[in-house]
């Protein structure tokens, strides 16, 4: 039982870590703000949630009211991250868009903020 | 213990008498007669209180009244002894005369802010008596500073540019020396001895090095710069911008004499005559004083402004007194103390006269006074008597004290001091007598005055007449003041 549980825990957390790795490399490698946001938005949310789920599972080692409640709380945090993280991503994205940060395009390299403004229809 | 014939608190009351009058004077500002009544009442009360103690003191007693312990071992204490009494008597009696004179002077010239003037006059008198009756150095210092500050509005009474610069000089000198020299000297004395009470044996016991003593001596002598010892004298001529009654009282009596009195007190009460003599401190004092005497007399010769000439004369005469006390012999000290009174009556006469001339003619310069004696005979006669007293010629009181100091010099085996006295007396004569001569004995053409010039108002010529008379009286009855001085030196 414990071995399986541990395996689940390790699996969840390790996959989480892997996605986090992707996120990290992504925000370092991707060429512009917008693409980095992709890495940050998706990777951060899932990796955090997975690791949290892993710890919630770990609580089931000694099942009792107390540990179950702790697991519940960890799940609660995961839910929170699920709501909050994309929202934060959106907020940051919107701020960058509003600030007219230059975008990268495969054809032209960096597109200046003027073009962003044009796209915004201003 | 004999019962004292006056109230325990009489010294305090005497000090306070004029202070109490201040609010009364201030409140009756718009009724000049009432205001002056208060001044006279306070003056009378003050003089009465001082006199009430005179016989007791003359009998060889001293009276101590401790008011308030202010620091550990130091109280606000009043001690009435011969020296203090002598000074108090001079100050309080001359106040009344000056008040009469002030009324004449101020009203004749329609001066502004008369109420303020009389208020601060009264405060100054309190401070002066406070100094006279101080039982210790701290009390003395307190009243000394009070006097400096309360005379400032008097000195700068005119409130013009000249008054401002004169007043500035006045306070700068007085405050800087008292804070910068006298105060630390006092503190060091206190640190060494643990007391500041005056004691005829001195407070320094054995074992205080001569270097410290000399340093303290110099700090004290220059610290109380009201005495005008050179090089801290130049405030005095500058302060002559004051109205004449102020110059008269304050610069013939109150302020400068307070300086001299303080130094005298310190020499006799803090150092002690014996210590002075044994440590040769007296020589130092004598050298400083002699220098001042001679130099100031020479400067006086060159002054054309009458009040300035009087001022430099005062500087010299003050040093006479210091010189006398500095001799540290019985006769020298007695003479010095007595000279406070003698010079006071003589010099105040001269100032009164200068003021009277100003009131009557508006003239301030000696060169403009040729022939004035014919127009203002009483005034100029009083002037003549006053100058006799200051020079030290009979029949005026100044001679008596000067003679005593001369004898003191001999007693102290300091013959060179004799020469100083003689030379300076000669110089005195040289700067006073020509004024008198030109006032009376010029030819008709030389006289600068027209016939319509008359004597100043009664209030202006009467006081000099009285003080001149007293100067003469003092020649015949010097013991009025000499007695107090002798009381101080009983047993020597």
């Amino acid at each position: 039982m414990n071995i399986y549980l541990d395996a689940i825990v390790v699996l969840l957390t390790f996959v989480g870590l892997l996605f986090f790795h992707g996120t990290t490399v992504g925000i370092l490698r991707f060429p512009d703000f917008y693409t980095r946001m992709h890495a940050a938005g998706k990777g951060d949310t899932l990796s955090t949630m997975l690791i949290l789920f892993g710890f919630a599972a770990y609580q089931l080692h000694h099942p009792s009211t107390a540990t179950l409640l702790v697991a519940g709380k960890i799940i609660f945090i995961a839910v929170l991250v699920f709501i909050a993280s994309p929202t934060a991503t959106h907020a940051i994205m919107d701020a960058g868009y509003e600030s007219e940060i230059g975008a990268w395009s495969a054809k032209d390299g960096f597109v200046s903020s003027c073009l962003i403004r044009k796209e915004k229809g201003e | 213990m004999e019962q004292i014939p006056f109230l325990e608190a009489t010294p305090l009351l005497a000090v306070m008498a004029s202070l109490v009058a201040v609010p009364l004077i201030a409140l009756s500002g718009n009724r000049p007669n009432l205001r002056e009544f208060w001044t006279f009442l306070a003056g009378g009360v003050k003089l009465f209180l001082v006199l009430s103690m005179a016989s007791w003191i003359l009998a060889g007693h001293t009276h101590t009244y401790e008011l308030w312990q202010i620091l550990p071992g130091i109280s606000l204490t009043f001690v009435v002894d011969g020296f203090g009494m002598l000074f108090a008597l001079v100050a309080s009696s001359l106040w009344i005369l000056t008040s009469i004179y002030s009324i004449g002077y101020m009203r004749a010239l329609d001066e502004h802010a008369q109420t303020r003037y009389f208020c601060f006059f009264a405060v100054s008198l309190s401070a002066t008596l406070g100094v006279a009756f101080s039982g210790n150095l701290l009390t003395l210092y307190l009243f000394y500073e009070m006097l400096s500050l309360s005379t400032y509005p008097l000195v700068t009474h005119h409130q013009d540019e000249e008054a401002r610069s004169g007043g500035r000089k006045y306070l700068t000198y007085l405050l800087s020396t008292s804070i910068g020299l006298a105060l630390p000297a006092m503190l060091i004395t206190y640190s060494i001895t643990g007391t500041l009470d005056f004691n005829s044996m001195g407070v320094f016991g054995e074992g205080v090095s001569k270097g410290v003593l000399v340093a303290l001596l110099l700090m004290f002598v220059f610290g109380f710069s009201k005495a005008g010892m050179m090089p801290f004298h130049s405030w005095l001529p500058g302060a002559m911008v004051a109205p004449t009654p102020v110059s008269a009282l304050l610069h013939a009596v109150a302020v400068v004499k307070v300086g001299v009195f303080s130094i005298g007190r310190i020499l006799t009460g803090i150092f002690g005559i014996d210590l002075m003599a044994s440590q040769d401190l007296n020589t130092i004092v004598c050298i400083i004083a002699s220098f001042t005497v001679l130099v100031s007399s020479l400067i006086a010769l060159s002054q054309d402004n009458l009040k300035r000439r009087l001022a430099f004369s005062t500087v010299g005469q003050l040093s006479y007194i210091i010189l006398g006390i500095g001799l540290a012999t019985k006769l020298g000290v007695e003479g010095g103390m007595t000279h406070i009174a003698m010079h006071a009556f003589g010099k105040i006469t001269l100032f009164f006269c200068a003021g009277a001339i100003f009131v009557a003619t508006g003239k301030q310069y000696i060169s403009q006074m040729v022939g004035i004696g014919r127009r203002m005979p009483i005034t100029m006669f009083a002037f003549f008597v006053g100058s006799l007293s200051v020079i030290g010629l009979p029949p005026a009181g100044g001679l008596i004290s000067k003679l005593m100091m001369v004898r003191g010099a001999l007693e102290a085996d300091m013959a060179w001091v004799l020469a100083v006295y003689l030379v300076s007396s000669f110089l005195n004569a040289a700067y006073f007598l020509p004024i008198v001569y030109k006032a009376y004995f010029c030819t008709e053409e030389e006289a600068l005055f027209e016939n319509k010039v008359q004597e100043a108002p009664l209030c202006c010529w009467l006081p000099p007449a009285i003080t001149a008379t007293i100067s003469v009286v003092l020649f015949f009855y010097p013991s009025i003041f000499l007695g107090f001085a002798q009381v101080m030196m009983i047993g020597r």
Partner: protein, 98 residues
């Protein structure tokens, strides 16, 4: 298992340091904000890992939750602030091009 968690924590910290490079490099303020936000989220995890390692996770869970909430609010506030300012991107653009 404790060892694994410590290794996990170390790996997380390592990645957080990598993310820090983005925070330092920028080039725009908002780029930095991405990194900060991620580091904040991962700190929540780190708190839980520490709690687990100390066997007091019941105590650390509240701290983690608080941290997650505050991190969200801080990111949001920063984003809102720069959105309002509108200049955050422009200032840095020259650097980007050069």
């Amino acid at each position: 298992m404790d060892t694994y968690f410590i290794l996990l924590g170390t790996a997380l910290i390592l990645h957080m340091f990598l993310t820090l490079i983005r925070v330092i490099k920028g080039p725009t303020v908002i780029d930095r904000l991405i990194g900060v936000n991620i580091i904040g989220t991962k700190s929540t995890l780190l708190i839980i890992i520490i709690g687990t390692a100390l066997h007091r996770v019941d105590m650390f869970i509240d701290i983690a939750l608080t941290y997650a909430l505050l991190n969200f609010i801080v990111s949001l506030a920063a984003a809102r602030f720069f959105q309002r300012k509108r200049t955050a991107g422009l200032v840095m653009e020259k650097e980007v091009k050069s």
